[in-house]
Amino acid sequence: MSLYGLMAVFAEPEALIEAARGMRERGYRRMDAFSPFPMKELDGILEIPKTRLPWVVLAGGIAGAVLVYALVWYSVEIDYPVNVGGRPLHSWPPFVVIAFEAGILGAAFAGFLGVLAANGLPRYHHPVFNAESFSYARGGKFYLLIEATDPKYRKGVTRGQLTRLGAELVEEIEA
């Protein structure tokens, strides 16, 4: 049974932020915070990198639109050219509409799948669930995780620091 890290529980979002900032000042890097709802402040403290997902979404959109337009073009020009109402084979105005919809669809899929992939979800079994205190059941508390792999991690020391930073409870998590 190796140790995954220390989980500190806070009652209030502010406490969590304070703690996170404090731990960071103490030089901890491998940290993560858990909260029932998003907390912007943590981004800076935890040095959460700016996500590149928007580019993924853009790519998805373009891919969808281009693919579908190409399909349409192929079908009317190459595969089955037929005179429909005296309109040209490649009458682009109507085709744009479908391409647009396809673009949206592509983008949406890219975004959704992208965020799941980037977050490594689905992940049904994760060490943090080992923490007795970790639950969103009653609205959830606010958790700060210091990973055991953090260079500055010292068992007793870290626990002490967290408690001093106002953690209601600090527990060790099995990996």
Partner: protein
């Protein structure tokens, strides 16, 4: 209700703490003790579901000849139902996506079921283009599938655009909705005591653990999806309106349709939101989460949309006259005095007349009355769609082919059946998923500093 007199009631009432919020919302789902009238209502809806199934079976066995359609009015209730349902779907997306982008805090407690409503409405709408077909079992010929007939869809046809638009809209709404659900599913997972419930919600929650890193990406993409949904929602009903404007039939061939349809969609959509929310907040006593403020804003949006629709009516008539095309003019006159006149005037009085009541705050804050108005608008909007569909062809170019259609029991069986099915789905949703977004309400409570 003390707050009724307050000028601008708050989005959230009283003080809450997280356990209380998640508890109250979650318990609706988890310990499943729902009031009796809930089940009575559900049963009634279920009867309508049976009606729908019977009607559809009959329709497929006998053919679309069972409907009122005829020459020259070959389109009928299947199309108007379709447009109507799609329209209803729009409010959901608007609330969840557009208001999210506009950072409107008050959306928080109603967006979840608004989105659900969108999904179910789109599901209903999706039925009708298929039921409309003479040979419904071949509906998939609208898709570009590999086949030994070497056949392709005819991409110039608005019906194909429809197909694309509806499919996209349904999918995107579903993704958006599911993404919004993730954190709440996690809450339910953790609250669940029974193993099956744990597994059910656990699997759906995908192991969500609320990591700050996840939240960061989650927020970004959630906003992006919203940003995608907004042009989408506008495009969808514009494309639906192209089914009509693309045709040269008098009364169809009009440039005002896209904006006018979108506005109509919002009008009917918000009407439906109110039709659901008012009983909901009463039945589950979440009056302090879904407050008068929500109702009030929805009503105001209805006025806004309604006025655009009214403008649509006016400009339709004006351009019919201004175009100088005798066919357009004759059609408009016929609409007002012809065989469909009673419907036409009913529509105007509902969508433009009754609507005006919402200018008064007392009425906006009077739930029973607001509910009645919302229902009236829903009816009015259905009539509008029906009128648009039938009056054009019934009075088109050659007088010798003029004629009216008359509805059969089947037309109504399918319409009411679909309404029943829609509400049955809403009930199921309330039963098994949190009808109010827990995490956003909590966030809201946090921001509003309404924490004990």
């Amino acid at each position: 209700m003390a707050e009724a007199s307050a000028n601008s009631p708050a989005v959230l009432h009283g003080r809450h703490d997280f356990p209380e919020i998640s508890g109250r919302i979650g318990s609706i789902v988890l310990n499943g003790r729902l009031p009796r009238h809930f089940w009575t209502a559900f049963f009634l809806c279920f009867l309508l579901v049976l009606l729908l199934l019977y009607s559809i079976t009959y329709l497929i066995a006998v053919g679309v000849g069972g409907l009122g359609i005829n020459m020259p009015v070959v389109w009928g209730t299947m199309i108007s139902n379709f447009v109507w349902w799609i329209g209803i779907g729009h409010a959901g997306t608007l609330i969840s996506a557009v208001l999210l982008l506009l950072r409107q805090p008050w959306r928080a407690s109603i967006n979840r079921f608004a989105e659900a409503m969108t999904l179910f409405a789109v599901a209903m709408a999706g039925l009708f283009p298929i039921l409309h077909l003479g040979r419904p079992w071949f509906f998939y010929w609208l898709l570009p599938l590999p086949n030994v007939h070497m056949h392709w869809p005819q991409w110039r046809s608005p019906l194909v655009w429809d197909f694309a638009a509806i499919a996209t809209y349904a999918t995107v709404s579903l993704l958006f909705w599911y993404m919004g659900l993730l954190p709440d599913l996690a809450v339910l997972r953790d609250r669940a005591r029974s193993r099956p419930a744990q597994l059910f919600y656990g699997i759906l929650a995908l192991g969500w653990r609320g990591s700050a890193f996840h939240w960061a990406r989650y927020q970004t993409v959630y906003f992006l999806l919203a940003a995608l949904a907004t042009p989408l929602v506008v495009s969808v009903h514009s494309i639906v309106s192209l089914d009509f404007t693309f045709a040269i039939t008098p009364g169809y061939h009009s440039t005002i349709f896209p904006p006018y349809f979108v506005a109509g969609a919002l009008l009917s959509g918000f009407a439906m939101v109110l039709t659901i929310a008012i009983p909901l907040r009463w039945a589950f006593s979440v009056k302090d989460l879904i407050t008068l403020r929500h109702m009030d804003n929805a009503a105001k949006l209805m006025i806004a949309a309604g006025m655009v629709v009214a403008y649509g009516y006016v400009s339709e008539a004006f351009f019919a006259w201004y175009s100088g095309a005798p066919y357009e003019r004759a059609m408009m006159v016929q609409r007002a005095v012809g065989p469909y006149a009673p419907l036409f005037w009913t529509m105007l009085s509902l969508n433009c007349g009754v609507l005006q009541l919402l200018w008064f705050r007392r009425i906006r804050r009077n739930m029973p009355l607001l509910f009645a108005i919302a229902v009236a608008i829903n009816v009015g909007m259905w009539i509008e769609r029906y009128i648009i569909v039938v009056t054009g062809p019934s009075r088109d170019y050659l007088p010798t082919s003029w004629g009216e259609q008359s509805l059969t029991w089947l037309d109504f069986g399918i319409l009411f059946g679909s309404i029943g099915t829609f509400f049955a789905l809403v009930f199921l949703f309330i039963r098994i998923l949190p009808a109010i977004t827990i995490f956003e309400v909590e966030e809201l409570a946090e921001e509003e500093g309404k924490l004990r």
